[in-house]
Every structure is written in C-alpha cells, then in structure tokens.
C-alpha cells in the first residue's frame, strides 16, 4: 500500500546533529556522571532496601503515636 506523501516527506526529513566537538564534550560529561552514579548505586540500593523493609514498621509506629496523641488530647478535653 503506497504511503501518504506527507508521511513520506516527514519521515525523510534529514537528521540534524551537533558538531563533533560538542558531541565529544557531552559524551565526556555523561561518562563522568555515569561513573559517579554507578559507584554510588550500591549504597543507594542498600539504603532503599533497608528503608523498604522498615517502611511498614515505621508507618505502623507513626499511626500508633498519632492515635495515642489524639486519644490523650480527647481524654484531656473530657477530663
């Protein structure tokens, strides 16, 4: 089935690109950032693993403390 001329014209628009110098500069910076992040990733993952395992307990503790505070406030008001 023949393609629509507009689709064909749009798909055949030539690509644009930056100069080699700009490309190399961005590439160098990107690699530096990647190396730094890759070195950090094990620590970040470990943090989220620990946090993830503690999160339900932290949530329950927060709710219990809040309910305790609310009950105490009500008791104070009534008493």
């Amino acid at each position: 089935m023949p393609r629509d001329p507009l689709d064909e014209a749009l798909a055949s628009l030539p690509p644009c690109d930056v100069t080699d110098e700009t490309a190399r500069r961005i590439q160098r910076r990107g690699r530096r950032v990647l190396a730094r992040e890759a070195a950090l990733t094990p620590f970040v993952s470990a943090f989220w693993r620990v946090y993830g395992s503690l999160e339900p307990a932290l949530l329950v503790a927060t709710v219990v403390v809040y309910l305790g505070w609310a009950l105490r406030s009500v008791a104070d008001l009534l008493g």
Binding site: P5, L6, A11, S12, L13, A23, G30, L34, T41
Partner: protein
C-alpha cells in the same frame, strides 16, 4: 527464552555503569533527540544545552532505571519535558521580543539551515516551525520519530484521542501550508 532487543541490552549494560553502553546510546539517539529539540526550540544553542541535559540525566538516572524501561520513550519524554520547562522560562524573553516588534536574532539556526534540506524539506521545515508547540511536538514524535500515537500520548502526558486529534490538526495545517507536496528523495 526471548532475545533482548538492542535497547534493552544497552539499558542492562548502562545499569551496570558500562560507559560503552552510554556511548552507544548517545551515538544512536543524539541526532534524533537533537533534531526534535532543534525543531521544538528553533535555536541551536538552546537545543545543544537541552541535548546535554537529556544525556546527563540518562547518565545520572541510568543505573537506577527499572526493568522494562523503553529507552527511546524515556529519552524523548525527558527531552520534551525539558522543552516545556525551557518554553516557560523563556516566556519573559519572548514577550520582550514581541514588545519590541523584533524577530529572533541572526544566531538562530533553523533546522532547514542545519540540514540543508531540499526545497520540499525546507518548505516542510518552515511549516513545522509555524505549528503551535502542542501540535508540533505530537507531529514530530509520530510522523518524524515513528512513535505510535498511543506512545506519543504517554510521552506528552495527554490522552491518546487528544494526541490523535492534535496530529490530525497538524497534518491539515501542513497540507494547507505545503500544498504541492513532492517527496524529495535527494534530501
């Protein structure tokens, strides 16, 4: 066991901090992302800045990207979001230009100048540049970059029917602007 597509393999290597994977992704997507940014911003220096930001974000988020991330869609989503931020921040400058009744300065490099496209290509580039940004971005993603309207809608954070509607309006606009459309195979 199914073989991984090239992007998934590159993403896997990138998550392990492999610099060569970053280079491969950069070489593969740089012209396409730059073309999108240039056609959206119409300023080469801005497009270069945003291109750098896209790939710095890839480098900083790459090691933590979840399994199954579509790299191409992720890159274009970041590029599009950066364009939106840039447009918001540049409103002040644009309003100044409007008040002064002046045009963008001579340092603006348009995609048709950059690519030295053929006559049809130039007419098309000029028409694309006149499209309102919401129509232009969906047209570029679907017609130039080959995303499905559904994928483009996800990138643009809009409903798929809204993306299709914008695409239709963009196509109607282009056909009005470039009525004698001939495909320029030489370009």
């Amino acid at each position: 066991m199914t073989a991984l597509d090239p992007d998934s393999r590159l993403l896997l290597a990138l998550r392990a901090g492999d610099g060569r994977a970053f280079d491969a992704i950069f070489d593969r997507y740089r012209p396409r992302i730059f073309g999108f940014l240039l056609r959206m911003t119409r300023r080469a220096e801005v497009a270069e800045e945003l291109l750098q930001e896209v790939f710095l974000r890839l480098a900083s988020h790459g090691p933590r990207l979840p399994d199954g991330t579509c790299l191409r869609a992720w890159l274009f989503t970041v590029a599009r979001n950066l364009c939106v931020s840039w447009r918001r921040w540049s409103l002040l400058d644009l309003s100044r230009l409007a008040v002064l009744g002046s045009r963008p300065s001579a340092d603006v490099v348009t995609p048709d100048q950059q690519t030295q496209a053929g006559r049809t290509g130039q007419a098309l580039e000029a028409a694309i540049a006149r499209l309102p940004a919401p129509l232009r971005e969906v047209l570029l993603l679907v017609a130039v970059e080959g995303f499905e309207p559904q994928e483009a809608a996800e990138i643009l954070h809009i409903r798929p029917d809204a993306a299709r509607q914008r695409l239709h309006r963009a196509r109607v606009f282009l056909l009005e602007q470039v009525p004698d459309l001939e495909v320029d195979h030489a370009a």
